[in-house]
């Protein structure tokens, strides 16, 4: 099994969920109010809450290897355009 971690702006969450669903993944989990720093600067929750931009979200998807492939293919352009990062690692179901 694979585990995909995606971190990007909350604004793009709906778009990301669309990509996850169309990849055939059996599920996903979302943590909100994530702050951080990356290529596009610092994200702090307070200021963005007021501006309506929202903070980041951290989305985790556990899925089989082939689905990971689909997911990554669709994910890349999203991350390139809007920013954010995603990484894949190995895991085993209990």
């Amino acid at each position: 099994m694979k585990r995909v971690d995606v971190i990007l702006s909350e604004r793009e969450l709906e778009r990301l969920i669309g990509v996850i669903n169309s990849s055939g993944a059996p599920g996903y989990s979302v943590a909100r109010h994530i702050t951080g720093q990356g290529a596009h600067g610092v994200v702090t929750s307070e200021s963005l809450e007021v501006t309506g931009l929202g903070a980041n979200v951290h989305v985790i998807v556990f899925c089989e290897e082939p689905i990971t492939k689909n997911l990554c293919r669709e994910l890349k352009p999203l991350l390139n355009y809007y920013g954010g990062v995603a990484f894949v690692s190995n895991c085993e179901p209990v």
């Binding site: 702006s9 809450e49 931009l53 890349k76 352009p77 920013g83």
Partner: protein
């Protein structure tokens, strides 16, 4: 309010201090101070959201009630129409100025932000008028809601027409529909218009419903505004650092633009025969820069633009400038230009 004015100069200073020394503005300073001194004071999420939902609901409802009472007169239509006009025109000349130094994307995004307006600045101006007991037409709240959309649409058109960049690999076309959806249905605009309509409907049923809710919308208003401005002080001060990076051109823009827009607005208000209080609200609407609906829409339309530029100028500079200097200044000019009635 004193009847005998010893000298115009003295009175003007008093007026300026009268706004600065109100609790909301003083708590705004306290928030700024907290950041500058490195205190860990914060209003954790989602409390600022609670305050802003409350304020939007309250001003929307009150505006709707007053609209029902005053009726949809020519004055109302003209006031709202002028606001929508300004929201479409300001981005155009702002864009021309900004393009002398910035690329199309950032120019369009900042221009759109200055075309629209700042709800908190408007609310602070309204509460200032209440303290001074100067009458105003609270239907201007409708303009507050209606100024977001034209600014967003103009910003979008500017990018579509003038940006000839080759599409980046993987770039996704955002439909006009999605942007218009954002422009008209984003939560702030929606709640404001909805509360306005509800205020209107409830007022038509008679005074009972209005009175019952007014305990909530009136009595708490000033306190919640105070809390919200404390938070805005924290938020604005955190943006100051980024502003330094924005450079002198943008800093100048963020201070001069509200002056230009407010001057135009006061001229228009005088032509249209607005009363003093309403003219102040109109000037403040034009002088403000949106950091709520427009940034969200711009992030969607023009991800190429740097959000820290359009948010920092509006939030870190134009907003405090309007609150502290702008509101009393515009009122002084208005008092010189428009006769009290």
């Amino acid at each position: 309010m004193e009847k005998v004015r010893p000298s115009p100069g003295l009175v003007d200073t008093a007026l300026a201090f009268q706004n600065i020394l109100t609790p909301p503005v003083l708590f705004f300073f306290l928030g700024v101070l907290a950041v500058l001194l490195g205190s860990d004071l914060e209003i954790p999420a989602p409390l600022p959201k609670l305050f802003s939902l409350y304020l939007l609901l309250a001003i929307g409802f009150t505006g709707g009630v007053q609209l029902q009472r005053s009726g949809l007169s020519l004055m109302v239509l003209m006031g709202v129409g002028a606001s929508v006009l300004m929201a479409s025109v300001i981005p155009l000349y702002s864009f021309l100025i900004l393009r002398t130094r910035l690329d199309v994307y950032n120019s369009a995004a900042i221009a759109a932000a200055y075309g629209s307006t700042s709800a908190v600045t408007y609310i602070t101006a309204e509460s200032f008028l209440r303290v001074l007991q100067l009458p105003y037409d609270s239907f201007m709240v409708a303009a507050l809601a209606l100024m977001e959309s034209p600014a967003i649409v103009v910003g979008l058109l500017l990018v579509r027409l003038l940006a000839h960049a080759p599409q980046k690999p993987g770039q996704q076309k955002v439909g006009v529909g999605a942007v218009l959806h954002e422009a008209f249905l984003n939560s702030s605009v929606f709640l404001l218009i909805g509360s306005l309509a509800i205020g209107f409907l409830v007022a038509q049923q008679g005074p009972t419903g209005v009175q019952k809710l007014e305990l909530f919308t009136d009595k708490l208003f000033y306190g919640v505004l105070t809390f919200f401005l404390l938070d805005m002080g924290l938020v604005a001060a955190r943006r100051l650092n980024e502003l330094r990076r924005a450079g002198p051109f943008l800093i100048g823009f963020a201070v001069l633009m509200p002056l230009v827009n407010a001057s135009l607005a006061i001229g228009l208000a005088s032509l249209m025969g607005m009363q003093q209080g309403t003219a102040l609200l109109f000037a403040v609407l034009c002088a403000g820069s949106s950091y709520i609906a427009v940034p969200a829409a711009m992030r969607m339309t023009v991800p190429e633009a740097n959000p820290s530029l359009y948010i920092s100028t509006g939030l870190g500079l134009t907003f405090p400038f309007n609150i502290i200097v702008g509101i009393p200044l515009y009122l002084q000019v208005i008092k010189a230009v428009i006769p009290a009635n």
